[in-house]
């Protein structure tokens, strides 16, 4: 049974290493087993888990009630995850077992409605187990932002969620900021953002690579859609490993880039301080004139 699970999982990308461990030999007949575990293990096997997988499941959150465990595991299978994938997910994020089954079902339904179905959902959940914990409000806010403010099409949204499921966990403001940076500051359209998996890259890295290119004269913000030079594609900027990015896009060295990143970080830090000081300066105007002097040094 374990072998079958292995084979059925072979078509999916990036099986966890655990899945490749040799399966233990099944007991020839009913052998000794812990009194507690026997009934549970049987239920899990009936749901579709192998003996070995059932054993691993039982090892998670041992104090959990059996119904809860079975229901959660079964729910994951219903979502279209393979037994091994469900198990791997639960091993990574055992807290999922505690979620009320109803919640789990609802969340998965929501995600499926957003276009994350079958394989995509599995991949997304595997990459970001936290996805199933995200409050519905946050899920919807993120989606609303991406569709209504950033103007991604439904198809593009599906693609974004499939490749960067973590967007659903982000603060909408952060997402929006990153989008606006790519759209206005870099002049990149939604289609290219999707291809480049924009939201997979942390904002600081996006900015480092972009500004490095820009200051070297190798990237230009389009003015009225035009540029004097031909900008490298966002996909290449973000997806190339650092040394390839430096060698083939930036024509630079790791040494130079290291110094640049430090300088830029310092610039940003000081800019923020300036902005904060300016904020306080504004506040000062509101202070009662007869009152305290702020120590604004």
């Amino acid at each position: 049974m374990a072998a079958r699970a292995l084979l059925s999982g072979a078509g999916r990308a990036l099986l966890p290493a655990r899945a490749l461990l040799p399966a233990r030999a099944l007991p020839a007949g009913p052998g000794p087993c812990p009194r507690r575990g026997c009934g549970e293990a049987a239920a899990l096997r009936a749901a579709g888990f192998s003996q070995e997988q059932a054993r691993r499941l039982l090892a998670l959150q041992p104090r959990l009630g059996p119904e809860q465990r079975e229901a959660a595991a079964a729910q994951l299978l219903l979502l279209g995850l393979s037994a091994e994938a469900a198990l791997a997910l639960l091993e990574r994020s055992p807290a999922l077992l505690r979620l009320p089954t109803e919640r789990l079902r609802e969340r998965a339904e929501e995600l499926r409605r957003l276009g994350l179905d079958g394989g995509r959902l599995e991949r997304a959940v595997r990459r970001s187990p936290q996805l199933l914990h995200v409050p519905r409000k946050r899920l919807r806010a993120a989606v609303r932002l991406l569709r209504e403010r950033c103007l991604f099409t439904a198809e593009q949204l599906r693609e974004v969620l499939g490749t960067c499921p973590a967007v659903l966990q982000e603060e909408p403001r952060t997402l929006h900021h990153q989008f606006q940076y790519a759209y206005f500051r870099m002049g990149v359209q939604q289609k290219e953002m999707v291809k480049a998996r924009l939201f997979q890259t942390p904002f600081a890295e996006l900015r480092n690579r972009h500004i490095f290119l820009e200051r070297r004269g190798l990237y230009e913000t389009p003015h009225k859609g035009q540029t004097q030079i031909s900008n490298p594609k966002l996909k290449d900027i973000l997806q190339l490993p650092e040394e390839d990015f430096l060698a083939s896009l930036a024509y630079s060295t790791p040494e130079e880039y290291e110094v640049f990143k430090k300088l830029l970080a310092r610039e940003e830090e000081e800019k923020e301080e300036e902005d904060v000081d300016a904020l306080y300066a504004e506040d000062d105007d509101d202070l009662d004139s007869g009152g305290s002097e702020t120590a604004r040094e």
Partner: protein
């Protein structure tokens, strides 16, 4: 810039900022010259520049090395001086070795071989003996190592109120080191303000008399401030500050300057650090930017102004005297072209013969601190580079024959 600010700017700004015009100008003018170096130079110009701390020999400043050395800062002038001395020793060793070990490879240590190789290189660069001496002049300037972006703390006054060091672009010291001021020399700094190089000249302790001139009265004020903050009265008395148009120098030479100089004195050293497009400033600061539309004429006339100032400097120098020309621009039109034109005019109109001194050994001596351009037709050019973000600084040394 914040995204929101950028969006507003992009939507409403009616005119193009001068910095953008400057950058565009540099991109088009310098791309051919710099070739593959351009991206690095451009990034250097647009990022925070690196400073050096010129020690004030007139202040009680012994604490400064103690403070800076644990932070990995080092006096790049003394390091170069040590290098130069090693080469001179190597050259002597090499000469001896060549003399008595012709053809035999025996007995030569790796170090000897290396010193010989470097000595050969120096010989080819026509290094003159005074080089070691000039590099070991009393100028001391601390910098942090390549790739280290630590900043210096602000200068502090000693018990007499003199500041312990002066923060400046370390590359600005190279023209002063090239001038190689010897004890008792008379020195003319034709465009002295705001005064960093003037201060460096005084740090050598060798200026018998220094004439610091600048056409701009407001910038000359800054020069006075520097003199008062760094230099004690008895040394200030050896400096005459004037506000003439440098181009008219030969007309004033009968005046104040020579009054204090005494009979038979010669003007031996001239520094002509001309106004230029100040590339780094123009690429980053809007204020007072020479690429602003209203200064177009002024900017276009710069090479002519620079040429006239250099000619005035050459004419002020007597036979045997040295003139160093410097700018803080990357532009060949303001650098080599001006010098070449001046050489022609000096020859053709004034019958003055001028020798261009080879400063290529500077590139080797200072390569650990600065990034040099290797293809100047004459003179040397320090390029901004993120790991050594000094410059731009062009300098060329002439000797009047």
């Amino acid at each position: 810039m914040q995204i929101q600010t950028f969006i507003i700017w992009a939507a409403t700004a009616p005119r193009i900022p001068s910095t953008r015009l400057a950058l565009h100008h540099f991109d088009t003018s310098y791309s051919l010259r710099l070739g593959a170096l351009r991206p690095s130079v451009r990034a250097g110009l647009l990022c925070e520049q690196k400073y050096g701390a010129l020690l004030n020999n007139f202040a009680a400043a012994d604490h400064v090395p103690q403070e800076l050395e644990p932070l990995n800062a080092a006096d790049f002038v003394s390091e170069a001086s040590q290098k130069a001395q090693q080469w001179q020793r190597g050259a002597a060793v090499g000469a001896a070795a060549r003399g008595c070990q012709e053809g035999s490879g025996e007995g030569r240590t790796v170090m000897q071989a290396e010193m010989m190789a470097q000595a050969e290189m120096m010989a080819q660069a026509e290094m003159s003996p005074p080089l070691g001496a000039s590099i070991s002049s009393k100028i001391k300037c601390y910098t942090f190592p390549r790739g280290d972006i630590t900043r210096f703390r602000p200068a502090r006054p000693d018990s007499l109120g003199l500041l312990d060091y002066y923060l400046m672009d370390a590359a600005s010291l190279l023209p002063v080191l090239a001038l190689n001021v010897q004890p008792g020399d008379f020195v003319l700094d034709l465009c002295a303000a705001p005064g960093g190089k003037t201060l460096a000249l005084l740090q050598t302790g060798f200026c018998g008399h220094l004439a610091a001139n600048d056409i701009s009265i407001s910038r000359t004020k800054r020069l006075y401030q520097i003199l008062h903050s760094y230099v004690p009265r008895e040394v200030r008395d050896t400096v005459s500050v004037t506000s003439y148009d440098g181009r008219d120098w030969d007309q004033v030479k009968g005046g104040t300057f020579h009054k204090g100089a005494g009979a038979g004195s010669l003007l031996l050293q001239v520094l002509v650090d001309v106004p230029c497009t100040t590339d780094r400033h123009s690429a980053t600061e809007e204020d007072n930017n020479i690429f602003h539309k209203r200064r177009t004429k002024e900017r276009q006339m710069l090479p002519m102004l620079q040429l006239q100032l250099l000619m005035a400097g050459i004419l002020a120098a007597k036979p045997g005297a040295e003139v160093v020309y410097s700018t803080c621009s990357l532009s060949p039109l303001q650098n080599e072209c001006v010098v070449e034109r001046a050489l022609d005019i000096a020859e053709a109109q004034f019958n003055i013969s001028i020798h261009v001194e080879d400063l290529s050994h500077f590139r080797t001596l200072f390569q650990d601190t600065f990034s040099f351009f290797s293809d100047c037709r004459l003179g040397e050019l320090v390029l901004p580079h993120l790991t050594a973000n000094f410059g731009p600084m062009y300098f060329c040394k002439l000797r009047r024959m």
